[in-house]
């Protein structure tokens, strides 16, 4: 098989993995090729608008597992291919020299056994690091069920190691991925978290969940993420809207992936990590799913109107973060600026605050309890229809 065809098959199988980040690692160029940038660098953007920073490929798409949502499940009749370690190195190095990519993202279907697959990954990556002195970013997938010794070895070569939990609950996993066990993933995460250092998985670990393939509510998903952040100190949890690739009676029949829901989950994820929110603030048993019309923070603010309006010049950093339309950056700007001068309502726009939302919660003139919600929803809708007309005009 030609290299081009192989690359096509194995990139196609890898594209459903959402992770693309290349940040968080400072690897210097020690007389070889490449280094890593702490901020991460996006090299291109695919037709779906997601960034391409790493050469995202599977080592092989042959798999002994039969996960119902997966394109590469054993019972699917698709073309199978397998790289050799040298081929992966050849492509990676040549792409890297031409500045196409920031590094390598290597995952794999499971051939023979988890241990055997893991050994193949280790062989490839150690070749890249030792023989070719490649110092760029490498993100590898740990194969659940592989022995701890191999996880230990792989972690020394890569910048980020991750294992996907795939579905937020144990039941979902049993239903759709009968060969996978959540405790295997938890074991890997636990081991990596305990041993993480500047030399071992410097950029930390991440994981991914499929959204909308099973019937979990947003509350269950957020609780799962929060517990992952708490117990394993993950850098990121990625949410991947379910794309129907297979037909199965256990899978929902939808025509387009639930992108809006995915967007709301990411927004809430950011609120957990950077805005000091708790899951119980955002969702509870009575409304277990996010509002599709408003973002989670605005939604929260509308349910807690008695805390508003807030006084920009005196309230704490944490209070600033709770105001819709103010983010981490603008909150920090406000804190540093207000030491030097009094901030007026007109100055807020210059600080990078989104006044469209913030005006209702900071200025007593705009703060009219009865119509804030209607106004916000209305503005949101208007914006959407504007987008639609703009798009129509193109054709």
């Amino acid at each position: 098989m030609e290299l081009q065809e192989k690359l096509k098959i194995l990139a196609d199988s890898a594209k459903y993995d959402a992770s693309c980040s290349s940040s968080g690692s400072v690897r210097k160029n020690q007389d070889g090729i490449g280094n890593t940038a702490v901020s991460g660098i996006c090299h291109s953007f695919a037709s779906d608008g997601r960034c391409i920073s790493l050469l995202k490929i599977l080592f092989t798409n042959c798999c002994i597992f039969d996960c119902k949502y997966c394109l590469n499940r054993r019972s699917n009749h698709i073309k199978r291919a397998m790289f050799t370690p040298e081929e992966v190195c050849h492509i990676t190095l040549n792409f890297y020299r031409r500045n196409y990519i920031e590094g390598l993202f290597l995952s794999s279907g499971i051939v023979k056994s988890p241990d055997y697959t893991m050994e193949l990954l280790i062989q490839t990556i150690s070749l890249l690091r030792h023989k070719y002195h490649f110092n760029g970013y490498i993100h590898a997938k740990a194969i659940p069920g592989a022995s701890q010794k191999l996880v230990k070895e792989l972690g020394h070569y890569v910048d980020r190691l991750s294992a996907n939990i795939e579905l937020p609950t144990e039941n979902g996993l049993k239903l759709l991925a009968p060969n996978k066990k959540s405790e295997n993933v938890a074991n890997i995460m636990n081991y990596v978290d305990k041993n993480r250092s500047k030399k071992y998985v410097p950029a930390g670990q991440s994981t991914q969940m499929i959204i909308g393939a099973t019937k979990e509510s947003d509350l269950e998903i957020m609780n799962k993420s929060a517990s992952l952040y708490r117990s394993f100190h993950l850098k990121r949890v990625f949410y991947s809207a379910y794309v129907p690739v297979n037909k199965d009676s256990h899978l929902p029949s939808i025509s387009c992936p639930p992108l809006k829901r995915e967007n709301r989950l990411y927004q809430a994820d950011w609120l957990l990590r950077f805005y000091h929110f708790q899951v119980k603030d955002l969702l509870d048993q009575n409304n277990p799913n996010f509002n599709t019309l408003l973002d989670p923070k605005t939604d929260w603010a509308l349910r807690h109107l008695d805390e508003f309006p807030k006084e920009i010049n005196t309230c704490t950093y944490y209070d600033l973060l709770k105001i819709p339309g103010i983010g981490v950056k603008s909150a920090k700007r406000i804190i540093t600026s207000r030491k030097h001068f009094t901030i007026h309502f007109e100055d807020l726009k210059k600080m990078g605050v989104v006044l469209k939302r913030a005006k209702y919660f900071t200025n007593s003139e705009w703060f009219q309890k009865n119509w804030i919600e209607n106004n916000l929803v209305w503005e949101c809708r208007e914006e959407k229809s504007k987008n639609v007309t703009e798009q129509l005009r193109l054709f």
């Binding site: 290299l3 081009q4 690359l7 096509k8 990139a11 196609d12 890898a14 594209k15 459903y16 160029n29 007389d31 070889g32 090729i33 490449g34 280094n35 940038a37 901020s39 660098i41 996006c42 090299h43 291109s44 953007f45 695919a46 037709s47 779906d48 608008g49 997601r50 960034c51 391409i52 920073s53 050469l55 995202k56 492509i91 040549n94 792409f95 020299r97 031409r98 500045n99 196409y100 920031e102 809207a241 794309v243 387009c256 992936p257 992108l259 700007r333 540093t336 600026s337 030491k339 030097h340 001068f341 100055d347 210059k350 600080m351 798009q391």
Partner: protein, 248 residues
Amino acid sequence: MDRIFIYEGDYISLLNTIFYLLKNNLKAENIKTENYVPSFFENKIQLFIPKNENIMEQMLKSFGMFVIRAMYYVFLSSEENKELLLYYFTYYALQYRKNILYQRNLKCVREVLRISNYVNHENHKMKGFLRFRELKNHLLYAKMAPTNNILFLLSCHFSKRLKNEFWIIKDVKRKIISIYDKKKFVILSEDEFFINLEKESDNEKEMENLWRTFYQTIGIQERKNDRCRRNFMPKKYWKYITEMSEEL
């Protein structure tokens, strides 16, 4: 008559001019390089200021690192009246010293921060969007046409990343090139240097095709979103991006 002061075109000479003007209470209507063509009501004035090489050190002491970097980035921008903006900014900086960057209610501070951010941002984007082609003799060659003059910043990045390669980056808009010889890079104007840059190496076409295949495969059809892609990767860069040049 509006007074237009002339500086030599480099950063140090601009700083020298600005400090000279401020020290002697000369009000500038604008500061420009020599090839500026004045209008009827303008008067070009050439100052002969002794070069003060220590100016950077003095500024570092009184303003601090961040202020100097922000000013340098503004100098690299393609903003039309950047020199005048820096003149006003320095005027206030002498007043507020290290706290100048927090004075966001001053327009010139806001502008300096906005423009320096823009330059920094473009530099960061270009670190990703630059595409090298391999020529015969394993030389790497890239063309770009960025809005701001980021060739120096970009060369710093690549001299670390591709330490053991020979590479050339060309800014097509400004007609300058940066040449790296495995030790350090130099920036030259295009006329000073000639090399045949069109002969590609044998596996260049093959690699480009592999990359295009990868690019076309990695996007998920069901999630297609052109608007989002253009937001992140504006069309002005497409011409020199290998995988995008065909879509133009």
